[in-house]
Assembly symmetry: C6
Homo-oligomer: 261 residues x 6
């Protein structure tokens, strides 16, 4: 638990919904594009509610055992070691599963008894069922833009959760965030935000994702390290966005227009 | 075994069929959409019949060993540890395999000798065959809406079981359930049920599942935590239902119509 | 080996063929739909021939080691434990591999030297080759209706075996079986058999399998537990048969016609 | 090594080619349909050449370690145990890999240095390379009818071997084999061979393989156990051949024609 | 850390961008074709910044444990051994993941908390979260020409990084590099560079990649070992480039034109 | 290291290129069809250069650990055992990876730091990086005719190597090889070579590979063991070449024409 509140700027009713869900012991589902501040939001909520935060970055090979725990061999004996979910359940922490659709389905199914009225975690390998400590709260996030037939959250999982949708902040809010996070001037932040908005308005194939607030902060920080603004924007905003040469050329034109040398 | 009967409101002959199957030592197959109360129903039946309940949430990686048991290394020696199915067989419990079609086929095939006149569980790794204790009853559930060519219950499994079909409760029953489970007023419950019925009547692609009683209870609970009703319904009912923007817009119109600010 | 002959009603020359194959030490292949009595038949043959019966339910993850045996760690040492096939080979039992096409091909190939003139089981991990005890007999079964390009018995396996084909019994025989197995009246049994025959005559897509004798017995037993006949037939016969709504409606009409309230 | 020569009736120059390849230390590739006597042929050659025979039935899960050997845990220590190929290499035995195309490609590639001028078996896990004892001879077999894009012998493997092609024996030879192997009369054997020839002349889809000499012997043996000839032919020849109803009907007509009651 | 600066010739602003990113503790993404000097560049940067360099060549089977660490059995006890990423995090080294798109997604997802404001490496199996030492810098590279739907870097990974794009150097720079690295004469280096440029201008299917500076250096070194220039160019430049006969012929013509005997 | 030079007949500049690459410490890539003498060539080079030769036959299941080494359990402790590549790196041997495209990509990627200016082998599991001893030389081979989208050598691997292309030898050279290797007469050798050339000129689908020098030597050796020339050519040349009946008939005609009884 951090002693200072992490910087988080609300953009809608997300704090109110989160706190109501927490009060009712309902799990929360965060939906939104990459880099829009979901991780920071959960850090701020954990701080406000005075609960420890345990974060798990989900991926294809995350097994139930990685979440729940496993036996390890110690001194010729097997010894049980709790996984992060089990630690959260025992200590009443907020457990945040980032990009949960990346996880294998067994990982999401193991959440079901925790996510409904039971609030229980059956640990088959211990032959034991834990009841979650009062402060425990399950939070999962995913990016709907990545959804596919293969990687999707099952309805039986979704319908156990309260959903909060995130989007890019308004211009004013975003300029404030970039300034606060990078230490750059308001002018540079505003130039970067307008360049990002131009990219977000683009409708070209070859860009699946657009520039997030995070990359604007990175560009601003590169200028703080002495890089000229166009070079910083090229490196932090344009280069990571695409490998397509045609799209790259289009972005270079926009760059020259919005952030001339 | 809980000392108080879990809240369960019957909607048809499901209690009568379950108890007849139990009396005849026949396994039971529960079919129905997510959130319609299958888990609660099994909890209530276990209470009425005075049997312990062992629940297993099935998934892609659930192996036969997870159900039946395995050898663990303890003090340099391997020691057998029963799985949940074996514990149920030995102690005469009700064993509930939730979302059984998610399990690998070896998991379902291992149920065959338990599910017919033999009522036996062969444990190959012990070289032993257990006969189920008298009170043992196998219950499996699945959601027919999820069926696919890849994930289906084999006929040789289905034909060993007595089937019970679940559907959404009638308006009156559902209002009663929402009120009882959330502590909200009858008026709020009725408004939520009518909004859910409107969604259930929708015929749009992009929604595979419709709003269950469970999400209505969640919305009602959010209002109990102080959230305005439209925000609560948006978070608990609309947001988890779809990622499709067009469908989301349609649902927002319905929300404004049924639950105006 | 059971002391009383299991109830089995012959429907053709299946007992004669089985006993001739046994006398000539030839393996046997049972073909037929689910629930037509293959398991009971093998139990009756084992009883008549005075041999113990070892049954293995085959599935996708059944490995050769599961059949033949494996080393287990005991007291810091590895100790060999025979699998069910090896136990049958050593003791001269009948080894019944149920739904053999579900097994991986290595499982069926390991049967080859056992299934021809050699009657040998090479156990590579022991560096040993067992010769089958005289009474040993290999019996496998499968359901030809499930055959697919992916799951099929290799010709080199099939041509090592004597085949016996099973089908549904005649009306008279089936009424006798239902009565004997459920304790119901002849009238109820006859009504159920005629309802099943109507279903078997149906030619609708969406039903891959039709009602077996097993489900008729289950329905009869539910009536013995006090359920009205139409409810019993709905639960035991109709509900397990299909998830298709149109097919379900068609079956409900048939049910109302053959088993009116 | 058996003390009596196994019954084998040559049908061409196969014995001459095998013995020339053996004299020149060249590996041998046997090609032919199932049940045509490849296994018996290798048994006879091993007997004639006075070499022990080690047979391995290949399958999808046969690993290099299964052939070459592995470390096993014994008394807390790992101990190397030779696999069947290594035993054959050390002792100068004939090593027969039956249905070699079923094996994984690593299994066949490990044969390369053994199958060319090097006659060496590198055992990576021992850090050792064995030179084959003089009598060692590698023999592999497969059924060209099963070949597919996925399961094929690599040219670099094939071109290291001398090939021998097998086919069904002539009528006279086949009648002799059936009589000798089953103890039946010449008349019954001749009737069975003519029925088999009729099946082999059939050109219908749904039969991938035709009746081998092996199934004729099985039918003859069933008659020796007292089964009438048509029932024996149905069980041993027709039933294993197909699951297709139309093909089954066609075969039943042929059976009635060639082997009338 | 090498005591002498590795030979690296800058071609754009890549050194400036890298050092700004390093100063701001932002991770770096290097994009460019094979053999254009990415590895050398990272070696030079590590030297200039006075940080140790830990390189990991990524591949399909690289697991999170390979990067982060694992328990090994030592003297009957399990002992934790840090992986290369963990060593870099603890010691403040530059960690270079070469060809990162080859790695499995779990490998890239584990980088997320390291690659944003958190700079943390959660080690689930230790139940511990490391904060990166100040000098730690994550660098990944990939070749955009190899991108495919299956192998691509997720946007949520890319948008955490500052991108630097590499391309072939100018003629003058490349001649300098070939001379310096091979010890050949300026004339031979110039002939080789012009031959490579002709290949790079070719627009034929069958060549996915063109000749890199690396292969020119190899050709020059073969001439230093006494091979005639055309033979050296054939062996080091043409032969590795294609297996297509038509393309090979086209390259042979070019070779005869640019590097006549 | 053999004391006598293995028989190898050069067909082009392959010895000169190999020795130049060796002198410059550049790895070598041998391309050519099966049976054209690549293995012999490497044996001869190892002899000429006075280096030990370590050969690894690559396959689908060859892991990095198989090449580099692994921990084995010895006396309750894990002990590191070098793999063949590590042994070659430490002792300065020639390491020959035969049919390298068969290996998994992790196997080829692990070669990268060994194959460029670094000449290093990082052993992650030891936390150690070896520098190759001076005499170390990496040689890989593959058959371009087998290339496919799935199995191909990555450009980043290829461009680290000097390529040598092999083809069938000229008639005179091939007759000399067959005579020398089999002990047959020049006349028989010449007849076999001409038959092989006729096959190599064939342009029929169903033959992916044509007859190599190796199969001519095998045929000649079978005649030395007393088999008539046409039977020997049928067994050693025709039978391994195809399973296609039409192609087999075409080859039989050629055989009758070139090698009449």
């Amino acid at each position: 638990m951090t002693s200072e509140r992490p910087y988080y700027q609300p953009v809608g009713n997300e704090e109110r919904v989160f706190k109501a869900a927490y009060a009712q012991q309902l799990p929360v589902l965060l939906k939104g594009p990459t880099g829009c501040g979901k991780t920071r939001f959960v850090e701020a909520m954990a701080h406000d509610l005075g609960r420890p935060l345990i974060t798990v970055a989900c991926h294809d090979d995350l097994t139930t055992a990685d979440l729940v725990g496993r036996y390890l061999l110690r001194g010729g004996d097997t010894e049980w070691v709790d996984g992060p979910l089990t630690r959260a359940v025992r200590t009443g922490a907020i457990c945040y599963l980032d990009e949960v659709v990346e996880a294998r389905q067994d990982t999401t199914v193991v959440l079901h008894p925790l996510a409904d009225h039971r609030r229980e975690l059956p640990i088959e390998r211990l032959g034991e069922t834990l009841t979650a400590a009062p402060g425990f709260c399950l939070v999962v996030s995913y990016n709907p833009g990545y959804q596919s037939v293969l990687k999707d959250l099952k309805d039986s999982t979704r319908q156990r959760m309260v959903g909060i949708e995130f989007d890019y902040p308004s211009e004013e809010v975003e300029i404030g965030i970039v300034t606060a996070e990078s230490g750059t001037s308001r002018q540079v932040a505003a130039d970067l935000v307008r360049f990002a908005q131009a990219i977000r308005r683009l409708d070209v194939p070859g860009i699946r994702e657009v520039s997030s607030t995070r990359v604007l902060i990175a560009a601003a920080r590169l200028t703080e390290a002495g890089l000229p603004l166009p070079e910083a924007a090229q490196a932090a905003i344009v280069a990571p966005l695409t490998d397509d040469r045609a799209v790259g050329a289009r972005l270079a034109e926009l760059l020259a227009l919005y952030l001339p040398d």
